[in-house]
Symmetry: C2
Subunit: 548 residues, 2 copies
């Protein structure tokens, strides 16, 4: 219980934050608040791994695999990971489970908090690892994969702790029959469901996987992490740190395992279908996600999405365009929360003293995007495109389908001559051409859609969400009553809405302990970080009764 006592205050504080939903963050996300040495050491630690076997997992294997390629260098980084056969993974997980399932909830919470503290020591190394696997700019890579992912992990851990503490471990129940009390001792136990498979993605290897990992572990399930073969290192570090703490606590490291695979021999489907796998957390493309959801298991999915922006009216068109340009540029629109479809009325956007025409808006957006990219921090805001398929998908959208506002062009990434980059492509499209924009086009491209009016914009956006899902929706509108209506319509389709974002608050950013991530009930996925269901579906309450 030593580790619980060490982290107790943090856990209870986090539990309160979960309920208040005010701003709360435990892990400092500003790299400048860390020392220069930490940064240098992190970079050195990352670089020292090039072309070596990643042995930190202390996993036994005769086959070592790895195919990560840095989008900045466009060369392989040569790190190899221990490959483990599926049946061996399952067997190991069961052995791990035997040691883990009966550990007290306090001890579990303490141990997982301790792992987060250890992970914190490696934020820079994780940041550089993320940068060179996902293509994110350094700042985002540092923030998303380190502090923000750990805040999300702590959130899941805390929700798990809260849920498992909800019922008493035991009580003496008494029923009066006539004038005699009949006592029964009752106990309540949260029984973990079984092996948990966490399938990672290539763009957010830790942020999207850590909530599921921590939710499954805190509720007593063993975890197998199947990372995307192109983005293994960041999550391999996380898994290693958890394994080390398990070992130090005298528990089986195999309570969590890394299951690397290759593009040629993928493991995800085989693992997902294994009868002993009971829980699946998945982030990735819609097609595979839909398949995952059909399995007779408990699934938590985050799939593709087309996120709309509806522009109706604004008090500050400059601030609107600047905010939007940033949200679009961030990581070259490779976030699940990035806006794709920007609806603008044909009659223009109402401003204080008139209207901004549709064409004017397109020009302003192009200018803001250009300006952003030309700023000192521009290239690193966009970062690299993670892979060629994404780039091809964007290029495949024919110009002829609309009017080109801004071509997507490669741009120079300082320090990295070979970086795979592309500026944001903007295509102006008529609202009637739904076949063009009512599908996900992942990567550096947006559509500015000319719709009859805002009512029509809402209708089109909802149709897109129904078909392809939406994780976010951004509205610019100054009409209070109209906003009420729009809010209700989107909410009833299970889509959260953000209104009139300007300044340093962006629609793509969901902060732990306050914003729910993923609505849990539209075509973009069935899970939400972190509502109680994200936790309670992973275990089953069982009550026993003892005659006393």
């Amino acid at each position: 219980m030593q580790l619980f006592h060490k982290h107790k205050e943090l856990i209870y504080e986090a539990a309160e934050a979960l309920l208040s939903r005010n701003y709360y963050s435990v892990f400092q996300d500003n790299p400048k608040e860390y020392s220069e040495e930490e940064k240098e050491e992190g970079l050195a630690a990352f670089q020292s791994k090039f072309n070596t076997d990643f042995s930190e997992l202390a996993a036994v294997s005769e086959v070592w695999i790895g195919e990560e390629i840095s989008p900045y260098l466009q060369t392989g980084i040569g790190i190899r990971y221990p490959y483990i056969e599926m049946e061996k993974l399952i067997e190991n997980a069961k052995t791990g489970w035997n040691s883990w399932r009966n550990v007290d909830i306090e001890e579990k919470a303490g141990l997982l908090s301790e792992a987060l503290e250890r992970i914190k020591e490696r934020f820079f190394e994780i940041g550089y690892s993320t940068m060179h696997t996902t293509g994110q700019g350094f700042l985002m890579a540092f923030q998303a994969s380190g502090p923000h992912a750990c805040d999300r992990a702590l959130e899941a851990l805390t929700m798990g702790f809260t849920e498992i503490k909800r019922f008493p471990e035991q009580t003496k129940w008494e029923k009066w029959v006539g004038n005699k009390a009949i006592p029964v001792r009752k106990t309540w136990k949260p029984i973990p469901r079984g092996i948990s498979l966490v399938i990672g993605c290539s763009t957010f290897p830790t942020w999207n996987s850590m909530p599921g990992i921590f939710a499954s572990l805190i509720t007593g399930n063993p975890v197998i992490v199947k990372p995307h073969p192109k983005a293994v290192l960041p999550i391999a570090i996380i898994v290693s740190e958890i394994r080390k703490v398990l070992k130090e606590s005298g528990l089986r490291m195999d309570t969590i395992q890394l299951a690397p695979d290759t593009t040629a021999n993928p493991l995800a489907k085989k693992l997902a279908e294994h009868p002993d796998v009971k829980l699946i957390d998945y982030t990735g493309n819609t097609k595979f996600g839909n398949y995952i959801e059909t399995l007779p298991k408990i699934t938590f999915t985050e799939k593709g999405a087309i996120n709309p922006v509806i522009v109706d009216s604004t008090k500050d068109i400059e601030a609107l365009v600047t905010n939007l340009a940033f949200s679009i540029s961030l990581y070259s629109r490779q976030m699940c929360t990035s806006p794709q479809n920007i609806y603008v009325p044909a009659t223009g956007i109402k401003i204080k003293d008139g209207f901004v025409s549709y064409d004017d808006f397109c020009d302003r957006l192009k200018m803001a995007l250009d300006e952003l990219l030309s700023a000192k921090w521009g290239p690193s805001t966009l970062g690299c495109v993670q892979n060629d398929v994404t780039l091809k998908g964007v290029k495949d959208v024919s110009k002829a389908l609309g009017k080109s506002v801004s071509e997507g062009e490669p741009f120079k990434m300082p320090d990295f001559e070979s970086a795979r980059t592309q500026s944001i492509r903007v295509l102006a499209v008529e609202g009637g051409k739904q076949e063009v924009y009512q599908r996900e086009v992942f990567g550096p491209m947006v559509f500015v859609i000319k719709s009859e009016n805002t009512t029509k914009s809402v209708e089109l956006a909802l149709r897109g969400a129904e078909k392809s899902g939406s994780i976010t929706c951004l509205i610019y509108c100054t009409d209070f009553m109209l906003n009420k209506e729009i809010e209700e319509q989107f909410n009833n389709a299970f889509i959260p809405v953000s209104f009139n974002f300007t300044g340093q608050i962006f629609v793509n950013q969901h902060t732990a302990f306050s914003d729910l991530h993923g609505s849990g009930n539209n075509a973009s996925g069935n899970a939400s970080f972190t509502d109680s269901g994200f936790i309670t579906k992973r275990f089953v309450w069982i009550g026993n009764r003892f005659m006393v």
Copy 2:
């Protein structure tokens, strides 16, 4: 908000009870605590409905249907209910939903509590209705369908209230960027999933349906109740009372509807597959339940089960047999929680000063069953067999498969000459003959299974549970360490265990606010009254953000 203020204290008190899980009951379950007039009026109200149209629902219909038959009288009771076409039901539900979904959670809770208070006024009428549709003895019919069902409904209501109150309606979130705070107003809304279908069963028409009804309503979903065509009246009264309170509050009655059907033209499958139906609560046979679970909807099922009793050792063999005989006799083993398979070691049951042999145990059980039936309250403890199919199922088990300990014979039901009755059949079976007992035989029959030893008994019981599910498990064993082991084995298979029950506490009885009913994760079903998932799966948290 008047109704909330009226019931506020009750709701908060119930919410506390949910967490403490101590004994808590709001509705008095002893008929003697009510006046003699209430009882007489209840009977008269019930009898006055014979051969009439049940108009209380105030539903518009040109077709009136009904096929209920009293198992006591074995004649139809002639009550007819308004039949409504499926598309009309769906349309009505949507209209009801529009008025219901935006009602404040406090108002919803107040209104539903008020409905329970009104239902309480009709406990005797509901009791007699239950008796003459299910065949339960009067006391059980009164308790289960009235007070106990209302306690369960209040439990679901309270869990819903608690869950929806978990997150604040809104908060002013502030993030500090540099030395400037950026404020964002955030709101959290529980969005109901959609039309909720509650499919009832013929044996517990209110007890098994009210939790789902109240869980769906409190979370803002409209409900369509599809009762078993042979047990409509008890739940029709419940639905009517809720509709009346809705009407009085100026809301649409169609927020809840009764959807009666006939054996010849069943509605359940059609309704379940309707795309607008998003939630399904189901109690009934395993085959249909398994089908329900395959639908791409949120389902809450309670299916068949074979509940084991494992007898190893006891301090009081008399008390053991008496308790067991009662559990088996109660409602002629037509409860989902009734024991079916009694495992006894071939070497006998260890008692204080020796052993009770397997044969001796069989004799004692037969004697206890006979004694119970011959007591004054015996026939009404067994009640009637709800239908001929149940009776046939029991009769179809060939004597040749084992050794007959007790034949099932019709017995006299005081005041009801035509009652469909049968005493408990007991068949002694060798443990090796799993094909005989490893399947559900619903109704007045148990197997006493001779197993090598207790380890083998556990193994066989777990195999049965894996195949056909178990909702309860009763262990008689005085060895503390062995009990620990057994508890763990059953719990890990998601089966709750009751130990050494004697006296006035019975394995079949699950009390609201303390015992969870259904484990939620074995072949007997996927839901549990009332864990938080029973509530939270019915709505989705959506968070909106407003720049301020």
